[in-house]
């Protein structure tokens, strides 16, 4: 791997190497720019480093202290962000769905949230490129939305839990499909196909999962980029002219400074605003790129409620990726009395996840819990991914408490709105109907779960109502860019990773275009 001097300004320093950062690092390096990618987490070699164990694999999660509050505090840790080269794509559930086109004009066409400054047809092209980058295994034809090309790899075989979803949907007259998913159904290069071990959400030890760690990162290194792991960025430096000059980061016990002509922040919707806010200086007392006051605001997560039940047969949901079937019916059907959409997917909780569900949703403990756990192999569940509406009161702020780096611990405040609650109620009813139609009994609801993060540096049309423009460039500081889940003005009813990768690929092209006309 090529290495750069800290004192020499590189063209780009990218903070974060996940779905937002890694495609940029690779794409910019391939375009001939000098690029350094920094990540707070380690550079794992999954074949040698990853155990098949929920507890040991907490090594890939972001487990630093964060304070959660509000009426509906968000569960962080294993649920949301990763601390590893490759970011949360190292442990994501690999579900790779496209946005419904109308969501890019949610305000104009659907009457809620905000419009994106990007046209859906343009993104459609980048979705295709993202799907090829990740060799998505998906259905030959997709039941919803405008036509899309066939997925690069074929759909996976369904496990028992996925088949239950399909049976439920067929009983309800809803369409379903094998989920487009970023794990291989056939060999690719040196990577083995998926062996259905079922530990996807704690890290794939076979490299079948097409995380950024095994896709963009090797490309970036081949193209001459440097990946510096275990490098926690604490502050972005800005000169008197109001341009970013580089980043301060802690590595091997010492604060260092990497000079750069451009800084790209891709730390996801908590760390990105945290870094921008913590970089406040005399010139930008409210934090960088924050003249709108919106850095950290409009935080969104997605409703991730579920229904679970028992089948008489053995389902053994621990086998195979957890979400092998999906129905997007309610993303594309507008006959409902709330805004936004949602999909639901099959579930495959491992034992610790499962005991969390039973204790959290049924309040079980003692002998009752231990007995109930013995039905583990018969449990089956459906879980929604639902769009929550942007609300400026949901936000990320800094506290006075310091973490192990000496940086202020973030506070994450979240409360559901009435629309969010209406959607959750609708989805729980629908999913319960589906699960019971498939033959499950003793059905109960998991009412409090959320997942994914968005919105704390939103993209928009003008500097008053957004943080970055359509090129992911901050309005306030022309050589400061943001590219991750935080730029989403609305979050849609599907998992975010594919859209983040598509936006990242688009940003590569935008930067190349701007550079070629001298606009960097």
């Amino acid at each position: 791997m090529r290495q750069f001097e800290e004192a020499d300004a590189v063209d780009f320093v990218v903070v974060g190497t996940g779905a937002g950062g890694a495609p940029l690092i690779a794409g910019l390096a391939e375009a001939g720019f000098s690029v350094v990618g920094l990540d707070a987490g380690p550079f794992f070699r999954p074949l040698e480093d990853f155990a098949s164990d929920e507890t040991a694999q907490r090594q890939v999660f972001w487990t630093d202290e964060r304070i959660v509050d509000g009426a509906n505090p968000i569960v962080m840790g294993d649920n949301n962000s990763g601390k590893a080269v490759g970011g949360s794509t190292v442990h994501f559930a690999m579900v790779s769905l496209r946005f419904r086109p109308e969501w890019f004009k949610a305000r104009t066409l659907l009457g809620y949230g905000a419009d994106w400054p990007i046209d859906w047809q343009e993104i459609w092209e980048y979705y295709g490129r993202a799907e090829r980058l990740l060799a998505i295994s998906g259905p030959v034809t997709y039941p919803w939305g405008p036509p899309r090309p066939a997925y690069p790899y074929r759909e996976h075989q369904l496990n028992g839990a996925a088949e239950v979803l399909a049976r439920g949907c067929e009983a309800m007259g809803l369409a379903w499909t094998p989920t487009p998913i970023a794990t291989l159904s056939a060999p690719r290069g040196d990577a083995h196909p998926c062996v259905y071990r079922g530990f996807c959400r704690v890290g794939c030890s076979t490299n079948a999962k097409q995380s950024q760690l095994v896709t963009s990162i090797p490309r970036a290194i081949r193209a001459g980029a440097e990946i510096r792991d275990l490098a926690m960025v604490g502050r972005i430096e800005v000169d008197e002219a109001g341009r970013a000059t580089g980043v301060h980061y802690l590595r091997q016990g010492r604060w260092r400074f990497q000079r750069a002509r451009n800084v790209i922040v891709a730390g996801y919707a908590i760390e990105t605003p945290r870094l921008l806010l913590n970089s406040a200086n005399a010139q930008f007392p409210e934090g960088l790129a924050n003249s709108s006051g919106l850095v950290g605001k409009y935080l969104m997560t997605q409703s991730n409620q579920a229904v679970f039940g028992k089948m008489d047969q053995e389902v053994r949901s621990y086998k195979a990726p957890p979400s092998l079937t999906v129905t997007e019916h309610w993303n594309y059907c507008d006959e409902k009395d709330f805004f936004g959409g949602y999909c639901w997917m099959a579930q495959g909780p491992l034992p610790i996840e499962w005991v969390n569900v039973l204790t959290g949703s049924k309040g079980l403990w003692g002998r009752a819990l231990r007995e109930e756990m013995k039905d583990y192999n018969h449990q089956v569940g459906l879980k929604m991914v639902g769009e929550m509406l942007p609300d400026p009161r949901n936000q990320v702020t800094l506290t006075d408490e310091l973490d192990q780096y000496g940086l202020p611990v973030p506070r994450i405040t979240y409360s559901w709105g009435d629309n969010d609650k209406a959607m959750i109620a609708h989805a729980l009813d629908q999913m319960q109907m589906g699960l019971e139609a498939a033959g499950a009994r003793d059905v109960f609801r998991q009412e409090n779960d959320t997942c994914h993060l968005y919105g704390t540096a939103r993209m928009g049309f003008d500097p008053e109502t957004s943080v970055v423009d359509a090129d992911c460039r901050s309005w306030d500081i022309p050589n400061l860019w943001i590219c991750d889940g935080s730029i989403f003005p609305t979050c849609g009813g599907v998992n975010p990773s594919l859209t983040i990768v598509a936006l990242s690929l688009r940003t590569v092209d935008r930067i190349k275009a701007l550079a070629s006309r001298g606009d960097l």
Binding site: A51, T63, V68, V75, E163, V164, R197, E314, W365, K374
Partner: protein, 213 residues
């Protein structure tokens, strides 16, 4: 308690193709957890053990999982969750405060220590903690129900289901790398997965489970 997967021990797969080296070393370390407290004081340790016995009873088990030891390990080595409810102090402080508050509650209600309470009284106290109905000043503003939900329940129950004994009991296939699974459909079982005892045919399940490698 009924044995659902007779004769199944997930550790019989330890040296087979389902376990890779990182898994073996992680589980070996887990099985060798220090049995003496490093974080908790002797008084806290006794309260914690009594709490573990109530939250996850193992009376009658031949080789109970040392749940309190895993809670102590988590605190001593500061394995954080990655988030903390705004109403709770840091995890170690929350545990110390919660355990001493439970002792105070037991003393106030029954004039005895929490660990000396009869099982029913102990469970009753826990139910009131779960419902947020404890009000001793020892809680110091920490809501008992939040402490119960965010500290007591996850820290204790996760310890059991992170242990091979927990996996064997619920018929979980356990670690799986490099070997994963072939038969994914409903009511299909790979020969290296546990077999569930069907009514009246426990012996067949036991035979299959003894062949699991």
């Amino acid at each position: 308690m009924s044995e659902r997967y007779p004769g199944y021990d997930v550790l019989s797969k330890r040296d087979g193709p389902s376990w890779n080296e990182p898994t073996r070393s992680a589980i070996d370390a887990r099985l060798n957890v220090p049995r003496e407290p490093r974080f908790f004081t002797p008084q806290e340790w006794r309260t914690l053990q009594a709490l573990c016995d109530a939250i996850f009873p193992q009376d009658g088990d031949v080789d109970p999982v040392p749940l309190a030891a895993y809670v102590d390990q988590k605190m001593a080595e500061n394995h954080t969750d990655g988030y903390r409810h705004g109403a709770l102090p840091r995890q170690g402080e929350a545990w110390r405060r919660g355990l001493s508050a439970l002792e105070a509650e037991a003393g106030a209600a029954h004039g005895t220590g929490f660990h000396d309470l009869a099982a029913e009284k102990r469970e009753d106290l826990i139910r009131r903690m779960q419902a947020g109905k404890l009000e001793d000043s020892g809680w110091g503003g920490m809501p008992p129900a939040t402490f119960f939900e965010h500290r007591v329940i996850p820290d204790i129950t996760h310890a059991f289901y992170a242990h091979p004994k927990g996996w064997s009991e619920i018929g979980y296939g356990g670690p799986a790398s490099p070997r994963g699974y072939v038969r994914l459909r409903i009511d299909r079982r790979d020969p290296w997965e546990p077999a569930e005892a069907k009514p009246g045919d426990k012996a067949a399940a036991r035979r299959k489970n003894q062949r699991v490698r």
